[in-house]
């Protein structure tokens, strides 16, 4: 359907639209008009992606700036879904008679795109990258062109021969499409996609290409400032930011990098003996300054570097690491230093500056050369023409640590943990370089791009994200869900049938009464709920102990009578088998229970729509492990820097994960399901207020403080009413709009605006302008109820 928002014609590829989709588009347009950032929360399963795409594409094509859309999502399946949606949209626009050229494509790793007969057989992403590099590095290709017998990649060579723009006509390419195209033209799809990025109108790729400074520098550097950046499923964005700047160094890492250093120096010796000019050339270049050498950097440099601040790039590499052999000795010293640190057998936590001081005292390494470490290493590997870069991975990690620790002073912490767990006796030391401030990684993005949209199904409380990511949002909106029938029922079960309060609080979590009551919830719901039930626990550890206790109590045998039970494990292969079998059990009508973990794989990105999930039970509140030192440091940082209280953040984090788990059950308005919060603490206002608006709106007073038997009675009633056939006609006009409804709505809004304007004028005539303004404010705030006309 085609409708207008203000003066913008919006093409929407379906005949009907949800009211919240329309509202969402309106806010989105506001954000884009204001060239600001937005935080938008919309219920899961109400067509967020399609509303986003159709509005932004319409916006892009309507206005002459043609702002590029960069859509970031989390997983490959989500990227593919978005691409398919985009393709459908563009086809619809074509069928409407629009004559436009839109180039849209997705980018994913080499592992998913590679066509090379042997390289594509590799399973690990790192190995594929390294082998690809071995075949496509400039010196390899030069040597091959000079007639030496060296293997190169024919797909890449083909790409080098022609112009990408000529090979690829403007269209929308899903990941499969671009692979097919590559096959047909015998060209490398990965590099094709990468070179097209600067020409494309729409780019869809993973968060990491944008957020991880190491990769972003390579991939996303040339995107224009006007681009619209969207982070979908962004409820975890702060953790992604933090992970992208954190590093863990362990003993094996250092051993491996020692080896790599030895290799490097051997290679340098070798080159010197051969009298190669290359080292000398490199040295000459470095004397002149880093910038010229950077200019030479292109897509072939797959050595990733953490962000160097721009002003450093204009500086010369410090003299003491200019020569290759000096630099290698430098790396060796740093590496040995880290080894001595790992020998310490008590927990230490220190700031980067105190780390640097100690480093200087012991090894006489200054801050400056340390900063250039990663950059210098990638230059050296290029000069030495090294292949098999995956061998160097550990050394790169050490160099990245060097650069990061010397560059950032605030918002980071070094924590050394000698033992893996609290009661381990064999030391397995690990040096964690932890980023505490999510704002650091995402800051360049907010600064560079004029519009950044953060959206997800669960972003409540909305003001937390601007705080922890340190930006100003022009539009902050959460949309309720409009439903003709209440197709999901959230309920809070606070006590078992025996009236014992249930909670996953540390003091009572292993209390047999609590565990039995948790078990009874599972058994009882297993009896009344058809098809699939998903139950989430706060952690693997807790899940294991509870399952063991249930086994002893005979609860599992009881639950088996009605449904099969599957369990998620930390191993992803095992989990996917469990998921497959769970689906099979649901499909053939047997019904099943899946026991999963909040923050686990199942809770993120796997949908339990329709019969795959008729009820979700959240046992307890999924708080983080609060004894973790890094978490403590982060909490302290948030408190000092962003004025976020420890408890506020912990509750916020726990409830966004709870909401994320429970949101899995509902994927669309024809779906229905139960959401069970099984913990006494959910009944409190401060917990409930942090749930997304669309869930909160359906939590009624009668369902906040239930015992198991009461809950079962309500659930039975709910399921019976949901089992009645649903007619589309009934939804029309309420939770589903046709074009007429949209127009009627716009008209009503316009009238209302005019009326308010008219009232204002009328008041102005009566009382004069300032008084009128005050009266209008009163009216808006609801102080005055009487109507003038």
């Amino acid at each position: 359907m085609l409708f207008h928002i203000d003066d913008l014609p919006v093409y929407f590829p379906y005949d009907r639209i949800y009211p919240e989709q329309y509202a969402y588009m309106c806010s989105l347009k506001q954000t884009l008009d204001a060239q600001g950032h937005g935080v938008l929360e919309m219920p899961s399963g109400t067509g967020k992606t399609v509303s986003l795409l159709s509005l932004i594409i319409s916006y892009q094509q309507h206005y002459p700036e043609k702002r590029k859309l960069i859509y970031c999502s989390r997983t490959v399946p989500e990227i593919e879904k978005a691409l398919a949606e985009l393709k459908r949209l563009v086809e619809y626009r074509k069928s409407c008679g629009l004559n436009e050229t839109i180039l849209g494509l997705g980018l994913t790793s080499r592992r998913n795109l590679c066509l090379h007969p042997s390289v594509s057989k590799e399973k690990k992403g790192k190995v594929v990258d390294a082998r690809c590099h071995n075949l496509t590095a400039p010196w390899v290709r030069e040597a091959a062109q000079a007639g030496q017998d060296i293997e190169t990649c024919s797909f890449y060579e083909e790409l080098e021969r022609g112009d990408v723009r000529e090979i690829v006509p403007d269209a929308i390419y899903t990941l499969d499409d671009i692979k097919e195209l590559g096959k047909a033209k015998k060209t490398c799809p990965y590099y094709m996609a990468r070179r097209l990025l600067s020409h494309a109108n729409v780019i869809i790729y993973s968060y990491h290409y944008m957020l991880d400074p190491k990769i972003a520098d390579l991939i996303s550097k040339e995107l224009s400032k006007e681009s619209i950046v969207v982070f979908d499923e962004a409820h975890n964005i702060d953790n992604v930011c933090i992970d992208s700047l954190s590093l863990d160094i362990m003993r094996p890492t250092l051993e491996a990098s020692s080896k790599s250093i030895a290799q490097l120096s051997e290679r340098i010796e070798h080159m010197k003996q051969q009298g190669s000019e290359k080292l000398k050339n490199e040295y000459e270049k470095l004397v002149q300054g880093l910038q010229d050498t950077l200019a030479a950097r292109d897509e072939e440099s797959i050595m990733a570097n953490p962000a160097l601040p721009d002003d450093l790039l204009h500086e010369a590499v410090p003299g003491n690491i200019r020569k290759a052999e000096h630099f290698v000795a430098f790396l060796k010293r740093f590496n040995e230093y880290l080894k001595t640190r790992l020998r310490v057998l008590n927990v230490t936590a220190e700031t980067p500056s105190s780390f640097l001081r100690h480093l200087k005292e012991i090894t006489f390494i200054e801050r400056k050369p340390l900063q250039f470490c990663a950059e210098r290493l990638s230059l050296l590997t290029r000069t030495l023409e090294l292949n098999n870069l995956d061998d160097l991975a550990s050394l790169q990690k050490v160099a990245a640590l060097a650069t990061l620790v010397a560059t950032y002073d605030k918002g980071f912490m070094l924590v050394l943990e000698p033992y893996e767990s609290e009661n381990a006796t064999v030391p397995n030391p690990i040096l964690r370089f932890a980023c505490l401030d999510a704002a650091i990684a995402i800051k360049p993005i907010f600064e560079r791009f004029s519009s950044v949209i953060i959206t997800s199904g669960t972003l409540s409380p909305l003001d937390m994200y601007p705080k922890i990511l340190d930006f100003k949002a022009t539009v902050q909106e959460s949309y309720p869900m409009t439903l003709t029938r209440n197709c999901f029922l959230p309920m809070v079960i606070t006590r078992g049938s025996d009236q014992v309060a249930i909670s996953s609080k540390f003091e009572v979590r292993n209390d047999p009464a609590v565990v039995r009551n948790f078990g009874n919830i599972l058994i009882e719901f297993g009896k009344v709920v058809p098809d699939g039930i998903v139950a989430f626990f706060p952690s693997y550890l807790y899940m294991e102990s509870i399952i063991a206790m249930w086994h002893e109590m005979g609860i599992l045998t009881e639950a088996w009578k009605t449904k099969l039970i599957f369990v998620e494990t930390p191993d992803s292969a095992e989990t996917s088998i469990a998921l497959d079998n769970y689906r099979r059990a649901c499909e053939n009508g047997r019904g099943a229970i899946l026991l999963a973990v909040a923050r686990g794989k199942v809770s993120e990105g796997i949908d339990f729509d329709h019969h795959y999930g008729r009820a979700v039970v959240m046992f307890g509140i999924p708080y983080q492990y609060t004894e973790s030192r890094i978490l403590k440091a982060r909490l302290e940082f948030l408190r000092d820097e962003h004025r976020v209280r420890e408890n506020d953040f912990l509750t916020f984090d726990a409830l966004r994960h709870a909401a994320q788990c429970l949101g899995r059950v509902l994927r669309g308005k024809t779906d229905y399901g139960l959401m069970v919060f099984a913990d006494r603490r959910y009944a409190r206002q401060d917990k409930r207020s942090k749930l997304p608006k669309w869930i909160n709106q359906y939590i009624t007073d009668t369902s906040v403080n239930l015992s198991t038997d009461m809950g079962i009675a309500i659930a039975k009633k709910f399921l019976r009413s949901m089992a009645q056939p649903l007619e589309t006609q009934a939804q029309l006009g309420v939770s589903l709009w046709t074009l007429d409804d949209v127009l009627a709505r716009q008209k009503a809004q316009k009238e209302k605006l005019e009326r308010v304007g008219g009232v204002h004028q009328q008041l102005q005539q009566q009382y004069g302008s300032t008084e009128a303004q005050r009266l209008m404010q009163d009216r808006a705030s609801g102080k005055v109820y009487m109507d003038v006309d």
Binding site: G319, A329, K339, H358, D640
Partner: protein, 355 residues
């Protein structure tokens, strides 16, 4: 700090003393030490071999003493050696960026130093290199000394800064905990009052609860604005640390000997705010620092001698002026007494070892 706490058992398990072939299985307390020739030996062997003074190293025949052995910091002995060489080098080659006109010159200098170190470490042309180093040291003697002083000052400053930061963090934490506690207390108090009111008053429960709710809402909004206010004010005003920090920067350079004297006076808690400074560099901020000192030194300010570079001629009224002199007189002293004391103080300085 951390390296001194290292533990050798876990990772150097398979060590064997090259002299007596003892390993950790036979002697769990075995400690390996390294001599100046970078050969390892266990403590027992050191005791045995060097009990009667200097003796040759069993491996390389170099004459060694017991005192020259030290514990190994690095696993890799070549790094251990390199670091020792670097320690010596850094005591001589300590020029800074400020001592050069351009960055390029500085980088060239850095490279030269690195070259020399590299030669020493890998034992290439040791003699000529050593000569070169000595030549450099002789040429730049003054600058080296000044830079050493600066370095010392800076490192103290950094320690101090760290300490201050730690204290500040702790204060933040305590304040936060206190705030939490107060809140908790207020809450429980509120609850008690509510129950009290419900029990005693004859109003209906509904009205009481409604009134309570209104009050608590008001309170939370007040607290929010309070938090906002404190954030704003903390952003505006400078906290205690940064205040003193600015002052410290002005006094960044201090003579080492001055500090040694102070150490003699058993002044073991170093605090730059309390102690007095001598200027190495004739930079800005001298007068400023004196004025600042006045507050700490109780009104008696000594004209300070500068180091060998020059003398800063500055006379400060010994008893201060205006109200300060009045303050001095308040104890019952005559004005002249102050002058006498100042002269005395000036003379005491003469008996100190020459600068």
């Amino acid at each position: 700090m951390a390296a001194t706490m290292t533990m050798n058992t876990s990772l150097l398990d398979d060590d064997v003393c090259p002299v007596c072939q003892t390993d950790r299985y036979l002697n769990p307390q075995m400690k390996l030490k390294v001599g100046p020739c970078f050969h390892k030996m266990c403590e027992n062997c050191i005791e045995r071999l060097f009990a009667h003074g200097p003796a040759p190293c069993p491996t390389c025949r170099q004459t060694l003493r017991k005192a020259t052995f030290s514990e190994q910091t690095f696993e890799d002995l070549s790094v251990e050696k390199e670091v020792r060489i670097r320690r010596q080098m850094s005591s001589k080659f300590n020029k800074r960026r400020e001592d050069f006109k351009s960055l390029k010159e500085y980088n060239d200098y850095l490279e030269k130093v690195e070259d020399l170190t590299f030669k020493l470490v890998n034992e290439i042309d040791v003699e000529t290199t050593k000569q070169e180093i000595d030549k450099f040291a002789a040429e730049n003697r003054d600058l080296i000394r000044i830079n050493a002083d600066r370095l010392l000052n800076e490192s103290r400053m950094a320690t101090h800064r760290q300490e201050m930061l730690r204290k500040e963090r702790q204060q933040h934490r305590e304040a936060y905990l206190k705030e939490l506690e107060a809140e908790q207390l207020a809450k429980s108090e509120d609850r008690k009052n509510l129950i009290q009111e419900l029990a005693t008053s004859d109003k209906s429960a509904k009205t009481i609860l409604a009134a309570r709710q209104a009050i608590s809402l008001k309170k939370t909004s007040m607290r929010k604005t309070e938090v906002k206010l404190t954030t704003a004010s903390s952003a505006g005003s400078t906290p205690m640390f940064s205040d003193s920090y600015r002052w410290m920067q002005q006094n960044d350079d201090m003579d080492r000997r001055q500090q040694e004297e102070e150490d003699d006076q058993a002044n073991d808690n170093f605090d730059p705010v309390q102690s007095q400074y001598m200027e190495v560099d004739l930079g800005v901020g001298y007068v400023n620092s004196v004025n600042n000192n006045k507050a700490h030194a109780g009104g008696l300010v000594y004209p300070l001698l500068t180091s060998s570079i020059g003398v800063k001629d500055l006379y400060v009224e010994p008893l201060g002026v205006g109200n300060l002199s009045q303050m001095a007189k308040a104890g019952g002293y005559r004005n002249a007494f102050g002058y006498e004391r100042a002269i005395e103080d000036a003379h005491t300085a003469l008996y100190l070892p020459g600068l």
